[in-house]
């Protein structure tokens, strides 16, 4: 724990009878970019507001850089914050918005001018310093909010759904730019989002929350390829799900599974095989890109009926039906050639414990 820069311990919060946080603990290393990912209502915003200090937890503690912040007022926590609404002050120019934190700190006027100008430049806002927020586009407002938070060199940066008010093209561009900025300034950051693509592409580490608890923490790669719970597997990306028992496994990662209704399923490379004991029941999750077309006689090939497909531009997503009635999703760069049936095999997959009903 000595290497954790931000340490959140056992946060609990109730509103009346509702337990919105059930013991949330979180460790963030210096310069790490961590995403809190979850549906609205999962507790991520409550956690955020407790870290900011606008909300008091019923129990639990928060340390930043070794200092106990649990009872420190928000203004003394020194956290740089970017609000979902940007929260720019409409009656001040871009320059005055960005300069605010420095003025509060009584930084000399000359230094303010330099630092504000350089923050504005770094975020590609040159020439807009005298505009008011209303005269800016959504993407520009977003940058001003970032500049305002970063100019005070906060030990910790907190971003609350910063891209959710932008339209799709701009959101994708800003994602790339944020990633670039993050790489260049190596700022310790907590990023709150409901968008899995943002979390996957920006984070060093993702914390998936659900119902006031942390479901899983890990690198984007782990979260995507090795989900530890059914919730995470279903929340992140698209997948084919089969209810299986583990039947046998080879040393090369290949495995033989059996569905509840007795169908045999082969997976060439099964991840997280240890999630379930031999013979135990589990859920097999296979990503659409791990499902491949096979020749009829091939080992592990399963016959499936083509039910539907969606053209998504870069890929055709097929919905197929196995003989036992399970849906299988398959991504293909080209349309499958005619015919009602196709044969598929699973080139990869992951075992997940079944969630209690």
């Amino acid at each position: 724990m000595s290497d954790s820069f931000v340490s959140v311990r056992n946060l609990e919060k109730r509103y009346g009878a509702v337990r919105v946080l059930k013991g949330v603990s979180l460790d963030i290393k210096r310069n790490q970019f961590v995403s809190l990912l979850g549906h609205s209502g999962c507790g991520k915003t409550t956690t955020l507001r407790i870290v900011l200090g606008f909300l008091k937890a019923d129990s639990g503690s928060i340390h930043i850089d070794g200092q106990d912040m649990t009872h420190v007022s928000p203004r003394h926590r020194g956290i740089g914050m970017v609000f979902q609404s940007y929260a720019l002050w409409p009656h001040m120019s871009v320059f005055e918005n960005v300069a605010f934190g420095l003025r509060v700190r009584k930084v000399p006027e000359a230094e303010i001018a330099t630092r504000v100008t350089s923050a504005i430049e770094r975020l590609h806002l040159g020439g807009l310093a005298q505009r008011t927020p209303r005269e800016l586009s959504g993407g520009q407002q977003q940058r001003v909010a970032l500049a305002r938070a970063l100019v005070i060199n906060p030990p910790l940066l907190l971003l609350d759904e910063p891209l959710s008010n932008l339209d799709r093209q701009l959101r994708e561009d800003m994602r790339l730019e944020l990633k670039h900025l993050q790489r260049s300034i190596a700022q310790t950051t907590i990023y709150v989002t409901h968008d899995q693509d943002e979390a996957l592409s920006l984070s060093d580490r993702i914390v998936v929350m659900n119902l006031g608890q942390i479901e899983q923490q890990g690198s984007p790669h782990e979260i995507y390829f090795e989900p530890r719970t059914e919730f995470v597997a279903r929340f992140i990306g698209k997948a084919t799900f089969l209810d299986v028992t583990l039947d046998g496994a080879g040393a090369d990662g290949a495995a033989r599974l059996r569905t509840a209704d007795g169908m045999e399923v082969h997976v060439s490379k099964l991840r997280r095989r240890d999630a379930v004991a031999h013979g135990g029941r589990a859920l097999l999750a296979v990503r659409p890109e791990e499902v491949a077309l096979a020749s009829p006689g091939e080992a592990g090939a399963m016959r499936a009926r083509i039910v539907e497909f969606l053209f998504l531009g870069n890929v055709y997503r097929y919905q197929l039906l196995l003989d036992n009635g399970s849906d299988v999703f398959l991504d293909s760069r080209t349309p499958l050639d005619g015919g009602e049936f196709a044969h598929v095999r699973f080139d990869g997959g992951c075992l997940v414990p079944k969630a209690a009903q």
């Binding site: 900011l52 606008f54 928000p74 203004r75 003394h76 926590r77 020194g78 956290i79 740089g80 914050m81 609000f83 979902q84 609404s85 929260a87 720019l88 002050w89 409409p90 009656h91 605010f100 934190g101 509060v104 700190r105 305002r148 938070a149 005070i152």
Partner: protein
């Protein structure tokens, strides 16, 4: 959301006719009173001639001029104080949780719902009990109580449209919450404060049933003066005073409209 609904129906035409009729009903009294004020002898409609005599007399009548300025004086004090109180109350109600919020809000709004005659009597009694009797102070407190709901409403509406994170952003940058309020939130609601104060002034200016309890003959706001005058005389002079009052109200309405949009008041 869209300008034309693309179909016409007899029902819509009937509605339009009824609407015009109702507008006529509402405008007629004002037309009658304004027209009467130019009448040489009696208050009658249609007028029997045209004169500005009554306006000259109105501006020369000491009691009306004195009442006019007293009304303005009370109105200004009531407006300033009730806008200030309303700002504090609105912040507490909109932004902070506290026990009995609903009851407090209802209490502050209740002067709209209890007969002003009864409020006047009650304040008069209370004023006598604490020994301030019929005085400028009692009159002003009374006016503040009955005008308070108006700035409270405009400021609450403004605050509800102001993102609380604006102020939080300033606090996160290290600003003291009280200074953050004045630097960030106050500029967002200042039109609501100004408009609310103006509405307070109008309500105070118009008030009669309350003032009648708390004023004395030497010390009567305009509506009371108008009313007492009517008990003795009934000449176009009073129509002229009324017309001036209506004009003054319309000017104030335009001021409110310019400042906050009347919608803050009518919604």
């Amino acid at each position: 959301m869209y300008a034309d609904s693309g179909f016409r129906s007899p029902a819509r035409i009937a509605l339009a006719i009824f609407g015009l009729f109702w507008i006529a009903v509402m405008i007629a009294p004002i037309v009658v009173i304004v027209a009467s004020s130019f009448n040489p002898r009696h208050i009658v409609f249609p007028p029997e001639g045209f004169t500005l005599e009554w306006y000259k007399r109105a501006f020369a009548a000491d009691n009306f001029v004195r009442a006019f300025f007293l009304s303005i004086q009370i109105g200004v004090v009531a407006a300033a104080v009730s806008a200030g109180v309303a700002l504090c109350a609105a912040m507490a109600i909109v932004r902070y949780p506290f026990r009995g919020k609903g009851v407090v809000t209802q209490l502050l709004m209740s002067p709209l719902l209890i007969p002003t005659v009864v409020i006047g009597l009650a304040i008069y009694q209370a004023a006598i009990t604490i020994g301030i009797g019929r005085s400028f102070l009692a009159l002003t407190i009374g006016h503040i109580i009955i005008t308070l709901p108006f700035p409270l409403r405009t400021i609450m509406a403004n605050l509800q449209n102001t993102d609380p994170s604006l102020e939080e952003a300033a606090i996160m940058l290290g600003e003291h919450p009280v200074r953050a309020f004045f630097k960030i939130t106050f500029p967002q609601v200042r039109m609501g404060v100004a408009g609310g104060a103006l509405l307070s002034f109008i309500v105070s200016w118009n008030n009669y049933p309350l003032s009648i309890f708390l004023s004395t003959p030497e010390f009567a706001p305009l509506p009371v003066e108008i009313f007492f005058y009517l008990q003795w005389q009934f000449e176009p002079l009073i129509a002229a005073v009324s017309t001036i009052t209506i004009l003054f109200s319309i000017l104030l309405i335009f001021a409110v409209e310019r400042m906050i949009g009347l919608s803050a008041f009518t919604k």
